[in-house]
């Protein structure tokens, strides 16, 4: 049997050599158990020693072999060639980062951001070593453990269009790590991290696209960490308004102190992949939401102007074209409801009897609440 082969298209960029990135095509021997990194290693060893890329552990722990594989940020050591056969695999450097050479990107921007969130345990006063360690129960570890699994592979930054658009954005991994220490029962540094977290370029810049969580090879869920940080900020604020005598105070106003790279995103990035398209569809449902607010306002306005204006408004509501528009609006708003319940279940960290409540149960509870709320509204609106 003839040896099977597989084609790879690899992005090349060399400072001083060629003005723009270009692609080299290679053919490597193919085995079913080969990952993209194996193919790159074969190219480097046997075909073209000038190819530059990072790798180390080959087992999804070191976080250094992240690249764009067919347009998606992936760990090349955990991405099998068979996933793409018989089509050729396109390998490019992680997007949204400046390229140093070929597939090697400069992640110093992240390194600066990582330092800013103080990803270590902050104590008000360290107790002497003789008094022993700070103990934690398994439940206390469970609260933050997921967020501590980050290997700094940068896939989440590469998947994040907000970071691509706005390089000032603190970004998924850095916020997830800050969240991890904020959740740690031994830590007392939440107020110190507020300066970099609860600011315009911190958690508030995130629009919950959610792709950081999808691409994360360690199931860290940065998207969940960011939204939970928002909820924590809002409830903390509410608490300080209701009871202003305790708790940490928010301090803001610090600016960024280092230069960042210039992003190069296509104008219509949100058309590029299906998850991005779904995200934009979700965001645009808000236009229909606002439109229905306006309809309700007009309804109340007609009601306030007397029976004739009210009857005229009802006749307008009965026009076939308006019914059709209402049906479109209903479709968009139901899409909003579906996405909103899913995202709410994602963000709510509910624990029951010491265990995290699984997602489908949270969604189920929200759907029950939706049905009850709808029934109550319908009863008062129509029959009461």
């Amino acid at each position: 049997m003839a040896e099977e082969r597989m084609a790879l298209k690899v992005a090349r960029w060399r400072p001083g050599h060629v003005p723009v990135p270009y692609y080299d095509e290679y053919e490597v021997p193919y085995r079913e158990d080969m990952v993209v990194l194996d193919a790159l290693n074969h190219i480097k060893d046997d075909i073209d020693g000038s190819l530059a890329y990072r790798w180390s552990c080959r087992m999804g722990v070191c976080g250094s072999c992240g690249m764009m594989v067919n347009g998606e940020p992936r760990l090349t050591c955990a991405t099998f060639l068979r996933e793409f056969r018989p089509e050729p695999v396109v390998v490019e450097p992680l997007q949204h980062f400046p390229v140093v050479r070929d597939l090697v990107v400069d992640m110093s921007d992240f390194m600066e951001k990582l330092k800013e969130v103080k990803p270590w345990i902050i104590r008000e006063d360290e107790k002497p070593a003789e008094e022993g360690e700070y103990l934690q129960t398994p439940e206390e570890i469970d609260v933050y453990k997921q967020f501590s699994m980050c290997i700094n592979c940068m896939l989440c930054y590469s998947a994040c269009p907000v970071y691509g658009q706005d390089p000032d954005f603190l970004g998924p991994a850095a916020i997830a790590l800050a969240h991890r220490y904020n959740l740690d029962s031994r830590d007392q540094g939440r107020a110190e991290r507020k300066d970099v977290l609860e600011v315009d370029w911190g958690i508030w810049d995130c629009t919950f696209v959610g792709e950081c969580t999808v691409v994360c090879p360690k199931d860290v869920d940065p998207a969940g960490a960011i939204q939970r940080s928002k909820v924590a900020a809002a409830t903390g604020m509410l608490r300080s308004v209701v009871w202003p005598f305790s708790g940490p105070k928010v301090r803001t106003g610090a600016g960024r102190r280092y230069p960042v790279h210039v992003p190069k995103m296509p104008r219509a990035w949100w058309l590029k992949t299906a998850p991005y398209r779904r995200f934009v569809a979700r965001e645009l449902t808000s236009v229909f939401v606002a439109a229905w607010s306006v309809i309700l306002l007009l309804f109340l306005f007609a009601l306030s102007r007397g029976p004739e204006a009210y009857e005229a408004f009802l006749r307008w509501l009965g026009l076939p074209a308006i019914i059709a528009l209402s049906a479109v609006t209903l479709g968009a708003v139901v899409y909003h409801t579906g996405t909103w319940l899913r995202l709410t279940a994602h963000v709510l960290a509910v624990r029951f009897l010491g265990k995290a409540v699984p997602g489908p149960i949270k969604v189920g509870a929200l759907v029950v609440a939706l049905i009850v709320a709808s029934a109550v509204v319908a009863y008062f609106h129509v029959w009461w």
Binding site: S293, G318, H336
Partner: protein, 128 residues
């Protein structure tokens, strides 16, 4: 083990983003849970004649809406989703359309629209 007390760090006011996001979230919640049934009743069931005859009669609806609790409900129902839209629309302009200039003006236009809508809602509800 109880979580130790956080370090105090008193300073000026929090980012206004906190208020914008809170209003956005509350509006998203209201729209998600309450808008589908309202659109189904007012936008579709009424027009297709599926409702009982006097369900939307002027006297009945006026009576219903004049209740203080109904006014409170309607104020929340109409105004908060406007803030939901304002927030998402603002970020759509920045991130999807790639417009990064004039951030303050865009924010003022988006949230300003929601504030005007809220003021109109309160005005109408007070007059009813």
């Amino acid at each position: 083990m109880a979580k130790p007390k956080q370090r105090e760090n008193r300073g000026p006011l929090p980012s206004p983003e906190l208020a914008f996001w809170s209003l956005f979230s509350a509006g998203g919640m209201v729209a998600a849970f309450l808008f589908p049934v309202h659109i189904a009743i007012l936008g579709i069931a009424y027009g297709l004649g599926w409702l009982p005859d006097d369900a939307l009669s002027y006297e009945r609806v006026l009576d219903l809406v004049r209740h203080p609790l109904a006014k409170l409900y309607l104020g929340v129902l109409v105004s908060l989703p406007l803030f939901h839209w304002a927030h998402r629309f603002r970020f759509t302009i920045h991130h999807e359309l790639g417009i990064h200039g004039g951030k303050l003006h865009i924010a003022a236009a988006c949230y300003g629209t929601a504030v005007v809508g809220t003021a109109l809602t309160i005005w109408v509800l007070v007059r009813i």
